[in-house]
Symmetry: D2
Subunit: 337 residues, 4 copies
């Protein structure tokens, strides 16, 4: 049984980790920490877990976590995990960070996009980008995993197999739309229910922090014009990629590599994914259409931002780290409707 | 491993059964039947289950089901399951019927409310009303289980412990609101997205078929004014009960009997349940307020109509029938957000 | 042309007043005041009014309002309008207050429910409760109008004609559900989009401030068990009334008095209103079912909480005060879908 | 007073026309026709208009329409309006067609995209594309107006001023998302509430009928990769355009031409429109960001598909045809929240 600790118990990422690990046959949450909720029963913070857990939120303590846990998930806001992760790694605790602090390999790029100096640049090399389709072979020995961003997963997964195909030398357009849970639990005027219900908007155009992460994981072979949007629903990302081709691309063939991937479902040409079919799951669904008139290949992908885009893929990484079947605790279909 | 068959594979009830049983550690779906989808891969009918099942929909066959299954869930519309259940019981197959055909003990009442003669009245005595809080002791030997209606579960669960308390002799008012999945998969003008979005309406006032079922299971000790509504969301029932008291009612004490119920969560006085905290789960949450000014006790309950109100409680019944821990495959928290 | 001032420009009530009066043929908004937004163009606060207004938010000034306006709408939170209204009335400005400060006639009752001393009890007698179906005859000479609460309008309108009918001497049950705009613009955990989407909950049971207002306007002839709920949508209140009868009630006949009411639509027995049909309008729709089995009369009403429940009825009052046709600027159908 | 007839009274387009014209100070709906609803009161078809209209649906009759109406709006499905329009034009009735039959100038292109022969090609030359920003000068003498498609309005309006700017010679990417009302009133599995709620999907990629219309109205100077999506809400289109530049584009300057347009609101660089601010209105809001890193100009536009995208712009055309101020009956702000 893997003994799991979670740092930062109150956010949506942690809530989802608790949900998944509670139902996981080979892992247990044994400690949760939170500064703001220290002393409160976890059930008070997340009433959804009544009768499922008796944990109480603790203040952060490296010693306690090192003693009680086989692995610690860090689930705190951007730029806040560096300190926790450093402390935990110094005590040789295995860490899975669901935030962005250890995703970018270049501390300069981090500083530019997160407006703060990286305080643990030495750990960047050690950190494994937690995308099993790319890094399965090294995740089993990883001691520090940086779980990818939700948008990047929906963009890298469909694009990675195409990198050696004949692509025109212009940016790929990635229009994504996310449910509001992606913006987290913090209150804001924009996400007050009456302000966001029945609304759609674009945001952070030309400036979203996930852009350098996406390009890094595509080996900087392509430039990506990432246009993020939010829509009036809770969960799920749909990404539509417009890829300008410079020759025929054997899409079917290139995606054949995903046949054995447990959580990538290639639907095929003319079959388009929908957010509902991945709701609550770890799947990334992919479909496409080749537009012969324009010479563009249009690819659509769908993930659940909180599971396949955060907590689910984090659990998959944990499974790999501990030598378990990577699908353990994640073998369920979309909650649709 | 319990080998499960499902008759009527295309509806929401069946879809949810497949979702739960796929993740159940001691049960497998081995056959699904559907007349309309016979020959189609189940994944084509329910794309949410891609990479999780390779089943194909079969035409109904008692022989096949009897041979391959330990238990068969019948998930067809009202008045349609009588025939399937009769045939299966004649072949001594254990059956869990998620429809209403075997809930009412009195075939006359059935005829009155369902506008059709009951064709298997002989089986009504055999059928066990599948509400574990009431019938746990007989579910382990049941051969035919009638899974309760979703509204009734949300009403009977909070009211049953109060039946011997001092209640005024007037109908209890049960105002319920359900998500639209409760109306099933059939298309109708009312539930076309733009017609139901941002809308709320009452329906079937003074005429809902669940009324006699509720009163039967409350031993006909109280009359219930059941006012059903639907709102612009997919899952979940919230029921608000206005109970006129005729003396002091020790609510806390009466609900103490639920302390050991795995799927009833008594939140306490002044703590009101919300649909989100039971989403996707088998829980029934209960809270209340005593209004001293009016002399009314107001009780609120929340369930997920497709899980705690249908497929989840059906799986709980299956667990009991097969001697498993009744919580098997159902130990997960609400998907909130 | 009626020259209108609005005090408290940033909330939903004011926003809706601006929307309605902008399209009103005989009224113009000439001043808006707001402490928090003073100096800002109104369009910056409410981008929906781009190209429709060039007003700038001003700090509150009795002198300016008295000079420029024929009538001032006060749209500030509960307990905050007393001071503004006193100042304006001292300068003999006509006032329409959309908040609750001048609704209750008894300052003791006000203190009990609003937890603060009433600072202008002398004005309570002068204030006319702005419900045209009840007070049309005095609204034309009113100098201070207290616009009713949204829930009370949905409850008083259907109940008022029944007060002399044979009713049992027990509380009428009023189960209401409102869209989230009713909770206003202030941020709260409960109404953060991912927390409220796909959710339903009851709140303030046995304790809602609208209860004494409802009973006062029903001449304290009946007691009302008011059970308020919120659901996952923006606008509209649906109220279901369970009225215990003590004899036959000629509902059709009693509602005949509404035939000439421009904004009450009596749909008839067995015809139930829906929120969507009143969306964005000043209408109150009413339908009912007599349940002979239980002896209860079930009445359902629907209004738009921001129009028929706030800004629309306020404009209707203004029309009456200024001798205009009361339907001016309010003659439009529901925005459905 | 303009006397208006509407052919095809039951759909969403007609419903919205009735809503707008009922509130229009210089126009009245005098006849509505519908084959399926002939003989029914319009209020029965659209309960939102109770107490606002006493019209009854009539069977279609050229003679009656010619006699009673100054202008007839035709609001029937694609390929169905050709016959109605021909008959009405033969009787010299002025027609505003809100469907697509008279938008494409080339009958071959029509045939290719609508899979049917155009039966009134002679009228294509006469038809004026009803986009005031482009054709205001000829709309005042038009006898047949083809109201633009909703997506095209959201794409042509922001792109038209850029046609002579330095654009790269590759397709402009137009990713649009629409509310479900855009799909009309016909039932389908995809738009059943529980199937579409909390869902997003792309559809008709590389094959949407609006593509040739968009390119025609952009003088075939650019190719457009139109990627349409639908999201879980009722009204509104948000379009994100990725425009590859081949030199500096003075966007501000080019959009200056819209300063006097009553229904185009240019928000400026870095200010992005949202669907909520145009809800229920005739406005098209536009904002943009220049991404220097990629060399792409990203433009976002928002309209209400049923008003600014259909019925509102149709009324604006009617105003122009009859020499009225074009803003008559359309001067209202967005219903937000």
């Amino acid at each position: 049984m893997v003994r799991v600790g979670i740092v930062g118990a109150t956010g949506y990422g942690a809530r989802e980790l608790v949900r998944l690990i509670t139902a996981h046959p080979e892992a247990d949450v044994v400690v949760v920490t939170s500064e703001s909720a220290a002393g409160k029963p976890l059930v008070e913070v997340h009433p959804a877990f009544g009768k499922l857990t008796t944990l109480t939120c603790e203040p952060f303590s490296v010693r306690m976590l090192a003693e009680l846990c086989d692995v610690v998930f860090v689930a705190v806001p951007a730029t806040k995990s560096m300190a926790f992760v450093s402390a935990l790694r110094a005590a040789e605790v295995s860490v899975i960070d669901i935030g962005p602090d250890f995703r970018l390999k270049d501390p300069e790029l981090f500083k530019q996009h997160y407006k703060t100096e990286h305080t643990a640049p030495g750990l960047l090399k050690e950190a494994v980008y937690g995308l099993p389709i790319a890094n399965r072979m090294v995740l089993d020995t990883a001691a520090l995993v940086a779980v990818p961003g939700c948008y990047p997963i929906s963009i890298i997964t469909p694009l990675k197999p195409l990198l050696d195909a004949p692509l025109a030398n212009i940016p790929i357009v990635a229009d994504s739309i996310s449910g509001i849970s992606g913006a987290g639990k913090s209150l804001s005027d924009s996400y007050h229910f009456p302000e966001m219900n029945e609304n759609v908007r674009a945001y952070n155009l030309a400036a979203h922090r996930h852009t350098p992460e996406i390009e890094q994981e595509l080996a900087n072979k392509v430039m990506v014009q990432f246009n993020p949007h939010v829509g009036p629903y809770t969960r799920g990302i749909l990404t539509t990629l417009t890829v300008r081709t410079a020759g025929e691309i054997p899409v079917d063939e290139l995606y054949a590599r995903y046949a054995e991937e447990p959580f990538v479902r290639v639907l095929g040409e003319g079959k388009l994914p929908e957010v509902k079919y991945v709701r609550g799951t770890n799947f990334c669904d992919i479909g496409w259409v080749m537009d012969k008139r324009t010479g563009n290949l249009i690819i659509v992908s769908a993930i659940d931002n909180l599971v396949g885009g955060t907590a689910g893929i984090a659990v998959q990484c944990m499974n790999l780290m501990f030598g378990h079947d990577e699908t353990l605790g994640l073998q369920f279909g979309g909650m649709a409707p």
